[in-house]
Amino acid sequence: MFLAAFLPIMLMQQAPADDIDWDKEFGVEEVERDPVTGELPVEPYVQANANAGATPFAGDTMAARFGGQNGIRQIANRFVDLNFSDPRIRTIFAAHDEVRFRRTIFEQFCYILNAGCNYSGRDMESSHSGLGTRKADLNALVENLQQAMREEGVPFAAQNRFLAKLAPMSADVIDR
């Protein structure tokens, strides 16, 4: 019954014209990467070092343990690579801006380690809300950071001192 009524209607439809811009019809906006930084634009927010979510270490011992800005850059890059390829959590990262993350995570680490940077990224709560992250995902991320620090020769006690700055952010970065 239903089919009999439905088929003629379906068959009577005109084929759509070839030159229709379907993205426009469905309201899909093309987002362009910044030609200089290669980053995707984000919603406006107020920049402040407080967004980093931790007070920096005093003195330069920790920065030295991490090999200064160069060492921190290596660690941040390796950390990003590991997170984007880790089968446990890469699906969370997949649709996000790797170029920006690489920059802002370096800034955050560098700022907290008091190695002479400012943090220009968003705060932890707003940048992680809605990601669906669980504690097990945070553990995976921590293991990746441990691996990156270990490969760069950061002593274990110093690794833990740094993690102690990040651990209290758990409530902001875990969703469920």
């Binding site: 088929l7 309201g27 699906t91 997949a94 669980r134 097990a136 441990q146 274990f156």
Partner: protein, 316 residues
């Protein structure tokens, strides 16, 4: 069939329309990545890993197994939950423990199930070989005292590793202990051959110092953990005892520490506190090997029971 094709084309179009209408503006590149991710997501291991927190804990944070089967140190209970699951899964932890003492040989094996890193249910079977002491006490050469321990522990609040740096993970536990040698323990002077212990534990990893601290308060009537029964005709009241542990993390896989546990002396046999120094090593995510030097003081009037504690633990 023709109509099926048409229907499915229609449904697909409707779905695509619905999802694109509700979605935020996204770049085509992001879209491509999302599809890629979704495809992988549907297949095998990745999907399982997302839905079950299989093996989701950080190394060693499921702790080792206490002699009474609960997750903890070797002789103290901690607020940790057994098993390698995180907040959304089920894990298990099994151990075999042996303790070589001058006059005794102790062996126990246990199984604990952890649910969502919230609830722990545990079972342990303890076998205590009295060797020559058995003959000396007139219960028989090599007489073995046996006990079953059933435990439940619930994490109330706090996190071992994350969260507020000064708020520990806190758990409430109870253990039902049933001694299987009622006649013997009553002959020694115990009132009961079974009893219930109540514990409250607070455990925290202080990352800034790589140090884990545990403190546990226990209400108990047990004599030598229950292996010599519960209470005595002279003293059949619960008493409040303390268990502490201090652990230093040398690496993700390797920790060293010490534990202390106070005990009542209901039977007036000179029962004293327990103490150990241990090292625990996790060669893989699922295996923890623990070795300790343990000082269990005087047991049934035989003094200076100091020896080696060895435990193998498997956890998933």
């Amino acid at each position: 069939m023709m109509w099926q094709n048409i229907m499915s084309a229609l449904v697909t179009t409707l779905l695509a329309w619905a999802s694109s209408a509700s979605a935020q503006p996204v770049s085509t590149e992001q879209n491509a990545q999302r599809f890629e991710a979704a495809e992988e997501f549907e297949g095998g291991e990745e999907a399982v890993a997302r839905f079950v927190d299989y093996n989701g804990k950080l190394l060693l944070t499921n702790a080792v197994s206490a002699v009474d089967g609960a997750s903890g140190g070797g002789i103290s209970n901690w607020a940790t939950i057994a098993g390698r699951q995180e907040t959304r899964g089920i894990g298990v932890q099994a151990n075999v423990t042996t303790l070589f003492l001058p006059d005794y040989f102790y062996q126990s094996h246990g199984l604990a199930v952890g649910i969502a890193d919230r609830l722990e249910l545990s079972y342990a079977r303890q076998n205590f070989d009295t060797q020559d002491v058995g003959a000396a006490l007139g219960i028989g050469q090599g007489y073995k005292l046996n006990q079953d321990v059933l435990g439940a522990k619930v994490r109330l609040f706090g996190e071992l590793v994350y969260g507020e740096p000064l708020i520990p993970q806190v758990a409430l536990g109870l253990q039902y202990k049933r001694n299987l040698d009622g006649a013997v323990v009553e002959a020694v002077g115990a009132v009961d051959d079974d009893g219930v212990d109540f514990t409250v534990s607070a455990t925290k990893l202080f990352l800034s110092h790589s140090v884990l601290v545990n403190t546990t308060a226990r209400l108990t009537k047990a004599n030598q953990n229950g292996l010599l029964g519960f209470g005595s005709t002279a003293d059949d009241d619960y008493s409040l005892q303390f268990e502490g542990a201090l652990v230093y993390q040398l690496s993700r896989r390797f920790v060293v520490g010490g534990e202390y546990r106070t005990k009542p002396d209901n039977l007036k046999l000179g029962e004293g506190d327990w103490f150990d120094l241990f090292a625990a090593y996790a060669p893989t995510r699922n295996i923890t090997l623990t070795a300790a030097y343990a000082d269990l003081g005087s047991i049934a009037t035989f003094e200076d029971q100091r020896g080696a504690f060895v435990q193998t633990q498997l956890a998933f």
